[in-house]
């Protein structure tokens, strides 16, 4: 019944790892060909693969893990998806229902463990409920503000010798769950009127634009009004990275011009963003002169950390569409002279810092150079997944994402070990596209066992490892806040990555000089059907800048090791 329901839901791939409580389900999987199972090497990777599929397509990914340790290994992946509002259905095996609560072998209370990190969870108590629960799980995961849903499945709910009536529901109706489908027209009108009178506007767009499939509407509105756009870490690609109106990412490691523009703005249009602490810096000093219009599908995200002047609850796509119509219908346009002056100011900021970094203070390559080269070699069109740390920030800053759903990283939870399984999940579903995992020598080792899965399923992803022989972001903080006491942030026992990947049947390339970088990258991408690991030695002393000064305003930043705003 489980496999049949997944098939009826249109699921092609599920990612998982078998175990005692799921043997009936795995036996059912074996006897059909519609739903293909991908065997990972660790359950965390299964959840990240499912998650990345969802990030790339907007549809819920599916993971299948056994009870006990299988389920607890999946917890990090579930929490990762939860923090970034990613639709996912995770089916966890469970011991027989009569054993629940008796500390049976491989029993854990997965409903209890997962409760704070899921949108919802279900426990199957009657086998005939399976189709209905599966349908509801997908509906809840994908609608409204998306999120992961767990289905806990006791082994005796899947006994193959028992037969039950099966009907896969066409629709779901739940009186307690009715996601909003449009915004309040009065509020949208009020907000649009405000947009038309703005003198120093900024559009601040987040992951809601990506998951809400609202990129086109965002571009249309921004270009209609000639407003600058900044993206959050989760929103990159929502507005084209090479467009003149794009001022870069904002926040802790946001661009100088984005953070300055936010601070001095008189109007902020926030779309599908949640005023996260990594964006706002000190909320008491946040954008002192700005009126805030906040569009979000989740009312709880509005006025949670920063008070919105005009809240609009609704899907970004529909609300932006309505705004575009209202602007088109109106004779009024924002004050052209004021907007011109605003753009002059922004361009001046852009000139002043604009992503500069030094290349003359080290013999080694700069990580920024490596990402810029990647952006050039792939034309800003690749799917880029990343792990967590300095390399993630460099990728976010220097890769010019021109399309949505192509930048795939763990923004909210900050999960090291996310990048490689995420790249695999994307490659599996987009075999003809370039998929690159930007990682570091620290993060990659958190799920490096998946090189084996790549071998089994021929997943020719590219891995770009910015190897600085240290946990770079930890070390940066230690440099800045702990008088360079590098406590546990140095890695002096690294494997030879080239030999390591070769032992898994893949190709490894070591790059030590900038002069060799472009050639190595082009060579790696030319090997279409092979996984290539590029181990790139970069300056271990480099820091990510700009970096906001803790608890300051948006404009308070370190611009380099010596310059401050």
């Amino acid at each position: 019944m489980v496999v049949r329901a997944l098939k009826d839901e249109g699921v092609k791939y599920i990612y998982g790892y078998p175990g005692g409580s799921l043997l009936h389900v795995y036996d059912a999987l074996f006897q059909q060909e519609d739903v293909q199972h991908i065997l990972v090497r660790h359950e965390q990777a299964a959840t990240h693969m499912a998650d990345a599929y969802a990030r790339a397509t907007g549809k819920a990914g599916v993971a299948l893990v056994t009870s006990g340790p299988g389920a607890t290994n999946a917890v990090t992946g579930i929490a990762t998806a939860f923090m970034d509002s990613i639709p996912m259905v995770v089916i966890t095996g469970q011991v027989m229902s009569h054993l629940i609560g008796e500390d049976a072998f491989q029993e854990t209370d997965m409903l209890g463990i997962s409760r704070p990190i899921v949108k919802h969870n279900f426990s199957v108590q009657r086998p005939e409920d399976i189709p209905g629960i599966v349908k509801k799980a997908f509906h809840i995961a994908e609608s409204g503000r998306p999120g992961p849903v767990v289905i806990d499945l006791p082994k005796d709910m899947t006994t193959p010798t028992e037969r039950y009536p099966y009907e896969y529901p066409q629709h779901v109706k739940m009186r307690s769950y009715t996601p909003i489908t449009r915004g309040h027209s009065g509020q949208i009108k009020k907000a649009t009127d405000l947009l038309l009178t703005a003198k120093r506007p900024v559009i601040y767009a987040g992951g809601g634009v990506i998951m809400g499939n609202a990129s086109n509407e965002l571009i249309e509105l921004a270009q209609l009004l000639n407003f600058p756009v900044t993206n959050t870490l989760m929103g990159l690609g929502g507005y084209p990275g090479t467009d003149r109106q794009f001022v870069g990412m904002l926040g802790m490691h946001g661009s100088y011009e984005a953070n300055m523009a936010m601070h001095h703005a008189d109007l902020i249009l926030a779309v599908g963003a949640r005023f996260d602490d990594r964006v706002t810096n000190g909320t008491d000093k946040f954008c002192p002169t700005a009126k805030i219009v906040h569009i979000d599908i989740d009312p709880a995200s509005i006025s949670k950390t920063v008070q919105a002047d005009i809240p609009i609850v609704g899907p970004a796509k529909v609300v932006l569409e309505e705004m575009v119509q209202l602007v088109n219908a109106s004779q009024q346009r924002p004050d052209a002279a004021a907007l011109h002056a605003w753009w002059q100011q922004i361009d001046e900021w852009r000139q002043r810092h604009g992503g500069r970094y030094r290349t003359d203070d080290s013999e080694l390559m700069k990580p920024q150079q490596v990402i810029e080269m990647l952006s050039k070699v792939t034309n800003g069109d690749a799917f880029v997944t990343s792990d967590v740390g300095q390399h993630q920030m460099f990728a976010a800053q220097y890769y010019k994402f021109n399309k949505p759903n192509r930048w795939i990283n763990s923004g909210g939870l900050g999960t090291m070990g996310f990048g490689l399984p995420a790249a695999m999940g994307v490659k599996m579903n987009f075999p003809d596209d370039e998929v690159v995992c930007v990682t570091g020598e620290g993060s990659i080792q958190m799920n490096i066992q998946e090189l084996s899965t790549c071998n089994q399923y021929d997943l020719p992803v590219k891995i770009l490892c910015l190897n600085n022989q240290s946990l770079g972001m930890v070390r940066q903080w230690q440099d800045m806040n702990y008088e360079s006491r590098h406590s546990q942030s140095y890695m002096n026992s690294l494997p030879d990555f080239v030999k390591l990947v070769e032992s898994y049947g893949h190709v490894g390339i070591k790059v030590e000089k900038y002069a060799d970088l472009e050639g190595a990258m082009r060579e790696a991408f030319a090997l279409k059907d092979r996984l290539v690991f590029m181990d790139v030695a970069v300056d271990p002393f480099e820091h990510v800048y700009p970096m906001q000064v803790p608890r300051g305003a948006m404009r308070d930043m370190w611009l380099s090791k010596t310059e401050r705003t």
């Binding site: 409903l111 409760r115 949108k119 426990s123 809840i140 739940m174 009186r175 307690s176 009312p299 709880a300």
Partner: protein, 163 residues
């Protein structure tokens, strides 16, 4: 400020733990909590009293609304409402204390619901501050045990919390 939040939710296993878990997870405070099925057996009504500023209480109601099992949420303290709590209190009662307790009890319209030669058990119904006042008024009487139901509340007038 103290708020009384009423929640109508699916009467399903795990629903209560989601509500309680939410309060713990997001660091909201629970002063009291009561829950029981309604006249419609598929629905439970939960009343929680909490203390927080407007922003916190706004978040609480929004976060409660997000729970999939929750059907409706209302902050009763936003309008005219009635709140009641039941208390049973067991007191040492011998000698002249018996008369004294009895008269305090009458003033508060409490009922003595169980009697032994040395104890009284008093039942009192009212708003929480009335129950507090009764405890204070008992003066030197010695309290053996107190059990309170937690607050339940209902809006005044025509307003109802239902499907």
């Amino acid at each position: 400020m103290r708020h009384i939040i009423s929640v109508l939710m699916e009467n399903e296993p795990g629903a209560l733990s989601r509500v309680v878990g939410l309060f713990a997870q997001r660091n909201y405070n629970i002063e009291s909590l009561t829950v029981a099925p309604t006249e419609d057996g598929t629905l439970s009504r939960l009343t929680v009293t909490t203390i927080g500023n407007d922003r916190v209480v706004e978040q609480i109601t929004k976060q409660l609304n997000k729970l999939v099992d929750v059907v409706k949420v209302v902050d009763l303290s936003e309008g005219e409402h009635i709140e009641r709590e039941v208390m049973m209190i067991k007191l040492k009662a011998s000698g002249q204390m018996r008369a004294e307790i009895k008269s305090t009890c009458d003033i508060f319209r409490g009922q003595i619901i169980d009697v032994t030669p040395t104890t009284y058990t008093v039942q009192l119904v009212g708003a929480s501050d009335k129950l507090d006042a009764f405890i204070n008024a008992l003066g030197s009487a010695s309290i053996m045990e107190v059990v309170r139901s937690g607050v339940c509340g209902i809006a005044r007038g025509e307003k109802v919390l239902s499907l």
